[in-house]
């Protein structure tokens, strides 16, 4: 039951060589409560903790009570911290890594725009 070790990059934070490394960039999928403040809570967390966030896609699901979000987290050595801090937000119901997706998913969305 040993916790995976985390990596970190701020000056007063010890970098850990044995790590919990996933290839960056990573796509996280969140299930969230759908109300006006949720997006602010999530983007605010990234800003406040100086985590990298490159792209967001969000859409309501089911009856609109909840939404799904895909976040492109680029080159973030503290990915595990990001996941844990996100999981603590009251409006975030689940956090998963979408290993099947990468940055191309987000660029394709814009490519689909008619001329």
């Amino acid at each position: 039951m040993t916790e995976p070790l985390s990596t970190a990059s701020s000056p007063n934070v010890e970098c850990n060589p044995i790590g919990y490394t996933r290839p960056a960039p990573t796509v996280l999928e969140l299930r969230v409560r759908n109300h006006p403040g949720t997006m602010s809570h999530i983007t605010g967390l990234f800003a406040r903790r100086a985590f990298n966030l490159d792209a967001i896609v969000c859409a309501p699901e089911g009856g609109g009570e909840t939404s799904r979000m895909l976040l492109l987290v680029a080159d973030e050595p503290r990915l595990e911290q990001v996941e844990r801090q996100l999981a603590k937000l009251h409006d975030v119901l689940s956090v998963d890594v979408r290993v099947d997706l990468g940055p191309a998913f987000f660029t394709r969305l814009f490519a689909a725009k008619p001329a």
């Binding site: 039951m1 040993t2 916790e3 985390s6 007063n12 934070v13 010890e14 605010g44 009251h90």
Partner: protein, 589 residues
């Protein structure tokens, strides 16, 4: 079925939460709620500034561990609360901040006294709400209390537009009050592993943080240290968890911690952190903190584990529950029966060591590095002597609040705290102005207890207006003003790290604080250094009712030991060694 207004419903929901006292200041947007309070069983404490109200509520919450409530109107009322909310966030204090908001139809129009309270409180709360309909109150209010008190406690803000307060609603059954939700139970495997590691360790140390007090696990942590015969170090926030006179207690670690304590941590091979977050003021340069130790970390917040230091073993859950289960796995004389295998190729710090030898080492280091302070008879007004004297005058369960600065560190170093929740101090945010209103809150929450606020001549002015509240309430709060005519801690840093360039840290004029206190209707005393100041201090403390005691102290006394900001904890400066280091050192910031 009963028809009521949003304001009356809000009041009822607070009453059902067991709130009997709250602190605030009324204003336009929140007036319907104040109208509903009229005739309620809830006692409203009229603060003189919303920040004061926020810290009065914090004083109640910190002294009891239960969520307390502060109230403000929209706009400036809400912005004035922000510091107290942010402070509660950093020290994990359960607080519910209730603010009025302009009517929803006006939101976004730059209406009179409109600010985006939701946006402002978002990054400084555990969670926040903007209530959009009167029916939402039924869900929001209990949930706010549940969130504030469950897991890692913290502040929750509820912003209520005036039209929601005025709206009527017909309510059937009222919701159950919000209650603490127990965290998921920690699995057995990591507790087994921790027990094995603690048994096998040669140089274990328990590192206690504020979470130990939050979890009401102080006695269990003490029992663990006894069973293991292991030394215990404490953060500022955990002072009081271990009685100061416990033979295994090593005092505070970190920037102004004991030198012996910081040195002992260098030798530790297993650091068991309990409800502590490896704050930079505690660890110094993190990479050099406990360089030889494996770290086991118990916390209710899994995001804290591995945030600063790599951690070998995580135990996520309630500290009381986990410590109880850990103790079940450890024999009552654990330290005697254990056989410790020598480590292959071990030398120096890695050699096996019996527990009694390790404890003897700890005691030796502690005794070799006492706090330096002239004898009381020679210098009764030395801050450390004053604090020693104060502790002799007050009962063991007295509650001490502090402001922020040198005086705060002297209290932390020298006051012999014996019980949890007897030191209330702003640790994470370090907010000057905390002390007086927090003392008022503590006195309100703990009738019959003595409360003393140790403050500085800088800090006291930051919530001075609350002396009016204190006088009105006539609570047993003594304010001890350590008056050095400086922003002392700033002056100290400028002396040590900025080449003695004293920029904006000296007061050219200091007010007559005793006269000011009297002006507010309190007893005000100034100690005379030429007379018998300690006898006068004892006299002033012996009289009933609130008072302010202005104590002239030396204006150049520094807090030692000190680890320079950014340095490693083993680079502790103590007074005599300091001078040569100074001439050559540049800024450490």
């Amino acid at each position: 079925m009963k028809t009521t207004t949003g304001a009356a419903l809000l009041r009822t929901l607070l009453e059902r939460q067991g709130i009997h006292t709250l602190a605030g200041i009324p204003g336009g947007a929140i007036l319907p709620f104040y109208d509903a309070l009229h005739g309620s069983s809830i006692r409203h404490i009229l603060a003189r500034h919303e920040q004061g109200a926020g810290f009065i509520a914090q004083g109640m919450a910190r002294a009891t561990g239960r969520a307390a409530v502060c109230v403000a109107t929209s706009g400036p009322g809400a912005t004035n609360l922000l510091t107290a909310i942010a402070d509660a966030r950093l020290d994990s204090v359960p607080l519910v901040a209730l603010t009025g908001q302009v009517p929803q139809a006006l939101i976004g129009t730059d209406a009179f006294q409109e600010v985006d309270t939701y946006g402002l409180t978002l990054p400084i709360t555990k969670h926040n709400f903007l209530v959009r309909s009167v029916a939402e109150l039924l869900e929001t209010v209990p949930l706010a209390f549940q969130l504030a008190e469950s897991g890692r406690p913290g502040p929750v803000a509820i912003d209520v537009p005036k039209d929601v307060l005025n709206a009527s609603i017909t309510v059937g059954a009222l919701p159950e009050p919000g209650r603490v939700q127990p965290p998921p139970r920690c699995a057995d495997a990591p507790i087994d592993e921790l027990a094995a590691r603690l048994r096998a360790a040669h140089r274990p140390i328990l590192y206690l943080g504020g979470g130990v007090i939050g979890a009401n696990a102080s006695a269990l942590a003490r029992e663990l240290s006894r069973r293991l015969d292991a030394p215990v170090v404490s953060t500022l926030m955990a002072l009081g968890a271990m009685p100061d006179d416990d033979e295994r207690f090593m005092g505070m670690l970190g920037m102004h911690g004991n030198k012996g304590t910081n040195l002992l941590l260098q030798e530790c091979d297993l650091l068991f952190a309990i409800g502590a977050r490896f704050d930079d003021r505690a660890t110094g340069k993190a990479a050099e903190f406990c360089p030889r130790a494996t770290i086991a970390h118990l916390d209710i917040d899994r995001a804290e584990v591995g945030k600063i230091k790599s951690t070998a073993l995580a135990l996520i859950g309630d500290a009381a529950d986990i410590l109880r289960r850990l103790l079940d796995r450890l024999g009552s004389d654990e330290h005697q029966r254990v056989e410790r295998r020598p480590l292959a190729g071990a030398r120096g710090y890695d050699t096996p060591m019996s527990r009694p030898a390790w404890r003897a080492r700890a005691t030796m280091l502690r005794d070799a590095h006492p706090l330096h302070c002239p004898p009381r008879a020679e210098d009764p007004l030395h801050p450390l002597n004053l604090i020693g004297f104060l502790s002799e005058q007050l009962p063991a369960d007295a509650i001490i609040t502090t402001d922020v600065g040198q005086h705060q560190m002297w209290v932390a170093q020298a006051y012999p705290f014996r019980q949890p929740r007897t030191l209330l101090t702003s640790g994470g945010l370090g907010t000057m102005g905390f002390g007086v209103p927090a003392a008022i809150g503590a006195a309100l929450a703990c009738p019959g207890r003595r409360v003393a606020c140790v403050s500085g001549d800088g800090s006291i002015l930051m919530n001075l207006q609350e002396l009016a509240t204190l006088a009105e309430l006539d609570l047993p709060v003594a304010i001890l003003l350590f008056n050095n005519a400086h922003l002392g801690l700033v002056r100290q840093q400028q002396e040590l790290f900025y080449g003695g360039r004293y920029s904006a840290s000296r007061f050219d004029r200091t007010p007559d604080f005793a006269a000011i206190a009297r002006g507010f209707g309190l007893r005000g005393v100034r100690l005379d250094p030429g007379g018998d100041p300690l006898a006068d201090l004892a006299d002033a403390l012996a009289q009933p009712g609130p008072c302010l005691i202005d104590i002239p102290i030396h204006d150049q006394t520094n807090v030692y030991p000190m680890v320079p900001p950014g340095a490693a904890n083993h680079q502790t400066l103590t007074a005599p060694e300091l001078e040569p280091a100074l001439a050559t050192s540049s800024s450490h910031d």
